[in-house]
């Protein structure tokens, strides 16, 4: 059984949080540059230029790309042959999150649902982190992290369709979601689509789909094809960068599909703004 020190997890989590806030990952940067080249609208092109400039300022001056530094979301794969010594893995991730947000001068956006007051005095700065655990083979811990902003989260939706809705129903549902959202979620977007499973499985899959690198190809050829069809449909909407009108509204559609109940076709659409701050580390 391999042992990993609690403090090592804390430090690693802290570091990826601070770094991600100001450094747009390569895949997102490449997709934005491609959108800039392809965009037909001069207004959207100008705004894309501003966003690329913003990414440059953010990384060179270590300033957050966006003031919404998000809620911290983690998908963690824990090898069956590894254990954390000195404390719980969950506590280490939360402690690393608090340290990252505090020491990186990032905004704590977590609040109580009704008083709207920040919980930092009771549970910690921008805590609790949202953590999804899985147990896998091996003696490593893989941590996927994303800072999830509120604007794009607010337009996300989920529904359980009857099976007859099929692919056509899903395409229409995603299109309606992005069309209604318009400029609000900060396009150009990445659209995560969770299909199948149960209600909550579809939602979590749509979130996890956003962690995939933009531009990567879905391993399932049927889903890869459906991603292409939906992407094409979404870019017909004409929303453009920040809703100014244009041809490049969505950078990528990512689908994660699961087997589901014979009676159901659950679908979830989770939207990611252009500031796709995601990364992963293996310890």
């Amino acid at each position: 059984m391999r042992e990993i020190a609690y403090e090592e997890i804390v430090k690693n989590v802290r570091d990826i949080i601070v770094y991600s806030a100001s450094h747009l990952p390569e895949d997102a940067l490449d997709a934005m540059k491609k959108a800039y080249e392809n965009e037909k609208s001069p207004v959207s092109k100008e705004v894309l230029k501003q966003l690329l400039e913003n990414a440059q300022i953010a990384s060179s001056e270590a300033r957050p790309l966006c003031q919404d530094t998000g809620l911290a979301v983690f998908f963690v794969k824990v090898g069956a042959d590894v254990r954390v010594v000195g404390g719980l893995l969950k506590d280490a991730i939360n402690e690393g999150t608090e340290k990252g947000y505090r020491e990186g001068y990032l905004r704590a956006s977590t609040c109580e649902p009704f008083s709207r007051l920040n919980l930092k005095d009771t549970v910690g700065y921008n805590l609790p982190a949202i953590i999804h655990f899985d147990i896998v083979e091996g003696d490593k811990i893989e941590i996927e992290y994303a800072a999830k902003g509120g604007g794009s989260e607010n337009v996300s939706r989920a529904r359980v369709f009857p099976p007859a809705a099929g692919k056509a129903g899903i395409i229409e549902y995603v299109k309606e979601c992005i069309s209604d959202a318009g400029p609000n979620p900060c396009p150009p977007l990445t659209v995560g689509v969770g299909i199948g499973g149960t209600f909550e499985k579809a939602v979590i899959s749509s979130k996890h789909a956003l962690f995939r690198d933009i531009g990567s190809v879905n391993e399932d050829p049927e889903m890869a094809e459906l991603e292409g069809v939906i992407l094409k449909e979404l870019n017909k909407l004409g929303i453009g960068t920040m809703g100014m009108g244009g041809t490049e509204t969505v950078l990528a559609v990512h689908i994660e599909a699961n087997p589901c109940h014979i009676a159901s076709l659950p679908v979830s659409v989770n939207v990611q703004c252009h500031s796709s701050r995601h990364t992963h580390i293996t310890i």
Binding site: S22, K40, S41, V43, S44, V47, Q50, L51, E53, N54, I57, A58, E61, R63, P64, L65, C66, Q67, D68, T69, Y105, L106, R107, A108, S109, R116, L117, N118, K120, G150, G151, N154, G182, P183, N184, P185, C186, K236, L237, G238, I239, G240, M242, G243, M244, G245, G246, T247, C273, H274, S275
Partner: protein, 185 residues
């Protein structure tokens, strides 16, 4: 055809009258920040007939909750938040003299109507360009509701702060105009 203007706050009726959807404006002077929680408190004060923490006449409110400043900086990253959450409060503030709002995303018909009736504009700033926009803010001071943290009301001094007119005082909407141009039916 989109025009470019340099404007200094507070805004006058004449300033607002010349602006059209799609125009680019570089703002200078003092603007105030407020998000949902602060808006609710401002409207509550108006309902109680009490004085607001700043003068609304000709004022611009920026919908933003900045990141904390690093030592030596006036403010952290400071891009706009999504504006519809302020829709239920904005018409009341516009009626009391507010001339401009800066945010991102669609506004309600009530807000657009208030912009026409009382001569006000809604500006869009580039969402997610927080590092770039934060650099145009030269000073920041919390003037009310410090307990709201990032949602506190701040007085900001801005220099050449870049915004685009989304909703003008004539009922036009850049989001509709822009989208119709590129939509494939």
């Amino acid at each position: 055809m989109s025009k470019t203007y340099n404007l200094t706050t507070p805004l006058s009726d004449e300033d607002v009258a010349k602006l059209e959807s799609g125009d680019i404006v570089y703002l200078n002077g003092i603007i105030y920040t407020a998000r949902d929680a602060a808006h609710k408190r401002l409207v509550d004060l108006l309902d109680e007939g009490k004085e607001l923490p700043f003068d609304l006449k000709g004022a611009i409110i920026y919908f933003v909750g900045p990141t904390p400043p690093k030592p030596g900086d006036p403010i952290g990253s400071a891009g706009p938040t999504t504006s519809y959450r302020m829709d239920s409060y904005s018409p009341r503030l516009i009626a009391e003299g507010l001339k401009g709002m800066i945010g991102k995303g669609k506004r309600s018909q009530e807000v657009k109507d208030a912009c026409v009736k009382y001569k006000a504009v809604y500006f869009g700033a580039t969402g997610g360009a927080g590092a770039l926009l934060g650099k145009q803010i030269k000073s920041a001071e919390v003037i009310a509701y410090e307990e709201l943290g990032p949602e506190a009301v701040r007085k900001l001094e801005v220099v050449d702060f870049p915004v685009t007119v989304v909703n003008d005082a004539y009922g036009r909407d850049l989001y509709q105009i822009g989208r119709e141009q590129y939509e494939v039916k």
